[in-house]
Symmetry: D2
Subunit: 385 residues, 4 copies
């Protein structure tokens, strides 16, 4: 990959973040309705802060920070980089305005382009790739956070009339059978990968059959109509508490209106399409559905070794694997080491990618992870028997 | 008062709300950092909803509501007018945009001016006056809520460089002595007053002396330096819990920077002016300070009968009277009856007015009320011995 | 009153506390099911600690405390006397055992009897009276706390089969009318009274008529059947939140079993007696019921000046007066000064006495006080029109 | 195993529960200081309820339940067996008394001995074994819950002066090295095991070295003195929140008194013995300590395959494996199926046994599990490099 390429790639990725925000009104950039959803403005600034902090301050001679207060405002969770705004307070910070944030992006992009005029060394290149992957991760969060903000507005505003992030159907059917034995898992290629995908190692897997299709709305409606949300025998104990404390009776964004199930999409509120792939379910719901079907979720390694047997990328797929380090995992020193390792507890792995995932961002060794009750991502279910 | 006058008055009051918001950025209109602070956008819409709901829908023939969803969005607490947005969710409603809200105001103002082209009947006039007083109350809240939003931003943005809502000093000194006896309290005039000020009645008051000046920053600093926030003997039991649970050690908006006390004002952060009248203290702080001085707060009736002996209007003044109904109080039927009566419990009365109070809004029988821990209003202390 | 008398009185009061606990099993002495209910063991020890701390340590030469750890364990809220067990942790302290606590009582009683062998001086006598009144207050709390512990046990255990603390009916009917004018209120006698009843002072009262009878179960059932708990217009705003958050639909201890209302009494579960005086309602319920009746609760002064016109003592009666200091109130210095004054905020006054009140403890100037949602005391309703 | 043996075994196990409670005062049986600690009385009754519900009611002809209310009172979490006392309310149920509970045990034991007079069939035998294992699990909880109740009492009462549940030292040193390859894990014997240990299956393990000794107090003190609790880089993100929210700075039961670290043991408060094996740490602390040492915790499979190379049984040992089902796991139908499967989420596996574990209860395939913040069990740390 030549120098030109990496600068072009930088500009391409950076541009996409702004394209995602184009349909927004200024007001939409501001709120943080729940702690796990961040304001779009914050995403735009934080991904910029990442380049400023880890690259420009380290590699650009005489770099002057755009505004010294921004380190406090737009640090997400890097304890090594100083104090920061409480995560729950991001929605109350009205200044800098969105206009200021775009100026901040402009400033950093200009300096980054200057820096990338010359071929970057290895260390810089590596950080650069991390920064771009990082921004891509925030691009997916921006889409799901925007959906959360608009989807909880009583007016159900349309994000984009012709939006593609809506429905998707299965192209394959049936099950793929895999044989018991020793398999290798983990990233093996030459390109970028996260530290949590390393190192490639052997694992022993028993015979299993994995579905080539994802669970559809029609199948899930059957579960709902069979009283799935009322039968404690189907649920993990913590899942049953979650259902009852939050009075859950349908996937996120589903609303029963005049007797019909509707769901909110970025193209607006519409009737649930029974053929479409089910979306916005928690791990708890995925596990209860599998139990009801008399099947189970795949482990992340089953998923990885079988991934060549089906097409994927339409939904993040819950696995029954806890997010834990691979053998030989060790975290990088300094702030960059806080990227993945410290989250390896009490979360479950998701494999695949979603319609909201940025192009070329995922791969079959990619380990996404969320808490068992979270469902504002594009999450779906694949079964194993 | 002629018809022309009431329409002019309507337009004048309505205009002031928009003037208050002029210095804001669009982002500043959105957030609700704590449940008791409402977004400026919400104030602008809710005061408009009041006229639409209680006047246009009732008195304007064939009135078409601007948007049927707004009743749900901008009802504050009127159970008689249907369901409403949870009070804690006001900051997450990004649509309608602020532009929409100004269009809503425009729409209602146009129809109101049409309606007021003819002399209003008594019932309409009464509701109109209530609506204007209501909007004036929200104007004061807009100012204090804007101060809260900007004053909790790490950048301490300036609202208006030359703003008058800053400091104020006492013009009088000493104490006024009043004689024991039967006095009359409650509203007695011809103009508008709230139901909670009626009916005028006799009360028996003992001898007392009331200060002609309000407590200053210098006096309060003395209390702080004497360990006032650390001495439980000075505090009400509930106040002592409040101090400890919230780690209170100064009035709201006070920050110690490099050894000096500063406070946030709408003109920006500045050094505490010792001569200025103390502001932004809770009832708990007021009561502890009075205890430390060996004095006490006035009752609301002491304040009222003495109010001719000092000038007032610079700060809302905490009294030691609970907010309870006057003899013979009865609430109006329907939604308008929800205005005052249902809040008459567990709050304390404040008398006076503040620099944020709209012109001609207060009077010496006016009963303002807040909870004992609240202090984001312009609240101060007057002592009695 | 002679020395013999005060010693006899001391022994009489002390004995009653133990008589109250006689029907208990050891286990019943331990728990604290909610923060406002204290374990009977704690009451027995705390009232003893009061005599040890404020009298024996001060007046008995060479007094050795029974156990130095008890000051920490059995101090209730006196900040001046050192650290203490968190109020919410009282139910977890299994040691000292109840046997130890009775030994503690024995120890203190022996030394107190020695001390009282000689005529006490004025200061001692005053503290002694306070200690006895204090123990009597805890005797009433012991009864209501025992009722709470047993009444929330799914087995509804009987405290005493023949218990007198059950039902009571009205002996009078109709209303007494009082004339507008200046009245005197506050304690005026020679005997003991609390600091919150002093000093006697003039107050102006308007014409009013006060019911000679308390509200009965039958009357309250009418309110319930008329949908009283569902009609927000009847409730204070904070009361309406309380009803909804706690799903309140009947007085405390009422259970609907097979279509009939029952209530738990210290003689066991029984059918609600319609003629009996209503009991265990919160201030919120009292206020809503009055609103429904088109009447109101008396102020504490109305109650006091009218108290000669009806018999009282069957139930503590909610007034619409906030618990605030009388003119000229000042708290004693030191720990004893923490007795009343620091609680004078956000509570309402109750007047009268209940079947659980110790003999000769109350009087018509007595000011009891609880928070607006509390109802585990024997609380009832008297109306004014 | 003959019929006589199983009856003897039954009586032996049942007796041990009562022996454990012998040193208690009646009061100690009652409280539930935190939701995860149950009252000893409840353990005694609940383990009895298990035999009554799953065996006597099913296998004993004409069995009459001791008290129909007990099903509600002493069901722990079996949704299939009806409603139950809220888990957080166990400490408030003073009746039945402890005397009643012992009568309940007596009643059930008599009928069980009658039932076991004849050789039990297979189904009964299996349930019986489950019931005994279940009671043994509660025996360990009884010990740790008693320790919690007494260890949080400001008097630090002694449970047993000569108690053996105190200190233990390592008998071995150094590391055992194991070779990469396919291993079998899971229960393989003939005797009783839990469903979560089945079925035995192959797993691939990389080279590793595992310590033959457990971490000692001295080693952990080094970590503490090196600032381990203050260095966020050592902690998982959730662990760092836990440390800060709970102000954790030492293992549970450690108290610094006059500059020296003490800990509470069942023989009373004593100075920390540096040579003793560290105990009462959470998973978070175990993980942070391992990080500080530059090592890691074993996985549960590493532990299992290496367990022949060291002696174990002194402390439950945290592994870095999430508690998840083995391949082919399926839960039994009915209430017994609620035993293990529904807890397989967001908990970590512990291997080994502790000094509080009942004799013959554990084995090297045994999977214990707790949440990452829990540390009132006898939990310790073994490292891997």
């Amino acid at each position: 990959m030549t120098t030109t390429n990496i600068r072009d790639e930088y500009n391409l990725v950076r541009k996409l973040s702004e394209t995602i925000c184009e349909p927004l009104e200024t007001e939409d950039y501001v709120p943080q309705p729940v702690p796990f959803v961040s304001p779009p403005k914050w995403h735009l600034a934080h991904s910029t802060w990442f380049f400023e902090t880890f690259i420009l301050k380290a590699f650009q001679e005489n770099y002057e920070v755009f505004d010294p207060a921004y380190n406090f405002l737009f640090n997400s969770y890097y304890n090594n980089v100083g104090d920061r705004t409480l995560r729950t307070d991001r929605g109350n910070v009205t200044r800098p305005t969105i206009k200021n944030v775009y100026a901040y992006r402009q400033h950093v992009d200009t300096r980054m382009n200057e820096l990338l005029a010359n071929p970057p060394g290895d260390e810089l290149l590596q950080l650069l790739r991390l920064g771009l992957q990082h921004e891509q991760q925030h691009q997916e969060l921006m889409i799901t956070d925007i959906k959360y903000i608009l989807g909880h507005n009583p007016l159900f505003p349309v994000y984009q009339k012709q939006h593609n992030l809506v429905d998707d159907v299965n192209s394959e059917n049936g099950f793929a059978a895999l044989q018991e034995g020793v398999y290798e898992v983990g990233y093996a290629g030459e390109g970028f990968c996260f530290d949590n995908e390393l190192g490639r190692h052997k694992t022993y897997i028993q015979n299993f059959e994995i579905s080539k299709s994802l669970v559809t709305n029609a199948e899930y409606l059957e579960f709902m109509e069979a009283g799935g949300y009322q039968d404690f025998n189907l649920w993990l104990d913590a899942g049953w508490s979650w259902v009852n404390e939050n009075q859950i009776n349908a996937p996120l964004y589903w609303y029963k209106i005049d007797g019909d199930w509707h769901y909110y999409t970025l193209a607006g509120l519409q009737k649930v399409n029974p053929d479409a792939i089910l979306c916005h379910v928690s791990f708890f719901e995925a596990a209860a559905f599998a139990q009801w079907k008399g099947m189970r979720l795949p482990t992340e390694f089953e998923w990885e070794v079988a991934s060549g047997h089906f097409s994927w990328g339409q939904r993040w797929e819950w696995t029954n694997s806890a997010y834990l380090p691979y053998p030989g995992f060790s975290k990088a020193s300094g702030a960059v080491g806080e990227y993945n390792g410290k989250f390896m507890i009490n979360q479950m792995v998701l494999r695949g990618a979603s319609v909201a995932t940025s192009p070329n961002h995922s791969r079959n060794s990619y380990r996404n992870f969320f808490h068992t009750h979270e469902r504002w991502q594009y999450t779906g279910i694949r079964l194993v028997k």
